[in-house]
């Protein structure tokens, strides 16, 4: 018998309001270890808020979130296991890329060998000594991705990871996500480009108006909707909700 993957991230009754407006409405969810889970949903569904809640950047109004057995709260230690790639990277413009790398390294007090594969694959070495302000948007996004993977985290939270990347770089990043999964990492990603996710994703959390409309494997989604492609499957979920 194949053992079931254990849950590494769990949310119970997660509620978040901004100025009294509910963005997440008491959702329950679980993310299995060693799998790639996509958070999908239309604009304003609460995808990025959910990522911020997992990182402790946004405080919960109700409910609780557990990451690797630690309840997300005031103790920041659990974030040592997380690599985060924000949607819009803004690094201090007068620092060089290398200084940004050093800053994060010092903050983490990291002593184990780091993953510099993406720095090499993205050919970032030549760019690291330039001030961030002269780097192109794509180069900043490459640096952003390389930083998220640098500390070999057990959990990766990636917010629109391929946005702003050219097709080659996007392919490199996707391959790296899969190799991280193969090494046992749990990946949670948000993306609007559904076609890019099909060969990456194992599980889907579909959010609509702050509620979980679907949570399960890609195969289960296919069974429910009768669609083999992710984009029409998601469209079918939205139509079902509207009707």
């Amino acid at each position: 018998m194949i053992p079931l993957p254990c849950t590494v991230i769990e949310g119970i009754g997660v509620t978040k309001r901004y100025g009294g407006v509910p963005v997440l409405r008491g959702i329950d969810f679980a993310v299995k270890a060693g799998r790639v889970t996509a958070i999908l949903g239309p604009n304003g569904a609460g995808k990025s808020t959910l990522i911020r809640v997992l990182l402790g950047l946004a405080r919960l109004d109700e409910g609780s979130v557990t990451v690797s057995g630690t309840v997300v709260g005031d103790d920041p230690a659990y974030r040592a296991a997380i690599g985060y790639m924000p949607q819009h990277p803004h690094f201090p413009e007068n620092l060089t890329g290398r200084e940004v790398v050093r800053l994060l390294r010092e903050l983490r007090g990291h002593t184990v060998p780091e993953d510099d594969e993406l720095f090499v694959a993205f050919a970032l070495a030549a760019e690291l000594d330039k001030p961030v302000r002269v780097l192109s948007g794509g180069t900043k996004q490459k640096l952003n991705a390389a930083l998220a993977f640098m500390f070999r985290p057990g959990i990766l939270l990636l917010d629109e990871p391929t946005a702003g990347l050219d097709p080659v770089a996007s392919g490199v990043l996707k391959a790296h996500i899969l190799s991280a999964r193969a090494a046992g990492a749990t990946v949670l990603l948000v993306s609007h480009v559904l076609s890019e996710l099909e060969d990456l994703v194992d599980d889907v959390i579909f959010l609509l108006e702050g509620r979980v409309e679907f949570l399960g494997s890609l195969r289960r989604l296919e069974e429910i909707t009768g669609e083999s492609r992710l984009e029409p499957a998601v469209a079918r979920l939205m139509q079902r909700k509207a009707s």
Binding site: R79, P86, P89, L107
Partner: protein, 262 residues
């Protein structure tokens, strides 16, 4: 440890900032010009006082607010690391306030050093000028932290920052003049001292004027001010008020930073 690390890297960032370099250079050129062509000595210090009271709070609050709004996304990335919010706040504040204070000290202080104008009788007023400018930088960057954390919208936050500066430099003085003219038949010296203590810029102005021995120009009011601010109670009360003006916004900003959503 976290605070020191963030401070060091923010210091490197702002040390290379064209805005901070421009600010330092402008103060340097102005001070040099006033020392060479403005009569030098006490006159230069008096002219610089007016610049310090207007420009230093403006740069502190506007540059600070803009810088913090621009850093919001990077602060998110830092908060996603295993670091405490309190320590991160300390590093961010020190990394913002100290380079600006250093820019002010270098811009105003260096010309006095190489022109030799800060010696003898001028040493006291110059020390007061440098001290007041540094303290005003710390106060107004703390206010910038508070504004940028309380107001999410960048345009509204910048508007509020400019309004605060306008109130502290001009509107509050207009209120004092209004009070003084409306109640001119009453002895107002003590209530005016109270009003002055409530505004850090007025407090710095009076302290500098008294250092420059210009209290006599203010007549009886000047004598009352000199007696009060020269007394032990006055000195402690003024120092306490300035420290409160620094610590109050800083503590409020710290609490907000620790509870805020990013």
């Amino acid at each position: 440890m976290t605070a020191m690390t963030v401070f060091r890297y923010e210091l490197q960032d702002l040390r290379r900032s064209r805005w901070v370099m421009g600010y330092t250079l402008c103060l340097l050129l102005l001070t040099e010009a006033l020392l060479r062509f403005g009569g030098g000595g006490p006159r230069a210090v008096l002219s610089l006082m007016n610049v310090v009271l207007g420009v230093v709070p403006l740069v502190g609050i506007v540059f600070g607010t803009m810088y913090l709004y621009g850093s919001r996304s990077f602060i998110q990335l830092l908060l996603a690391q295993p670091v405490g919010r309190g320590e991160l706040f300390a590093g961010l504040y020190a990394g913002l306030a100290l380079p600006l204070a250093a820019g002010f000290l270098l811009g105003v202080g260096l010309p006095f050093v190489w022109d030799g104008g800060g010696e003898g009788a001028l040493a006291g007023p110059l020390a007061m000028l440098l001290g007041a400018g540094t303290l005003l930088t710390l106060v107004f960057t703390a206010l910038a932290m508070l504004v940028s954390l309380r107001v999410n919208d960048r345009a509204k936050g910048l508007g509020l920052a400019i309004l605060l500066w306008l109130v502290a430099t001009a509107l509050y003085d207009a209120l004092i003049v209004l009070v003084a003219t409306t109640f001119s038949d009453y002895p107002l010296e003590l209530p005016l001292i109270g009003l002055i203590i409530l505004n850090p810029i007025d407090l710095a102005r009076v302290a500098m004027l008294l250092q420059l021995d210009t209290a006599a120009l203010m007549g009886y009011t000047g004598a009352v001010f000199e007696r009060f601010f020269g007394s032990a109670v006055g000195v402690w009360l003024s120092a306490g008020a300035l420290i409160l003006w620094w610590a109050g916004p800083l503590v409020a900003a710290h609490r907000r930073f620790c509870r805020n959503d990013f």
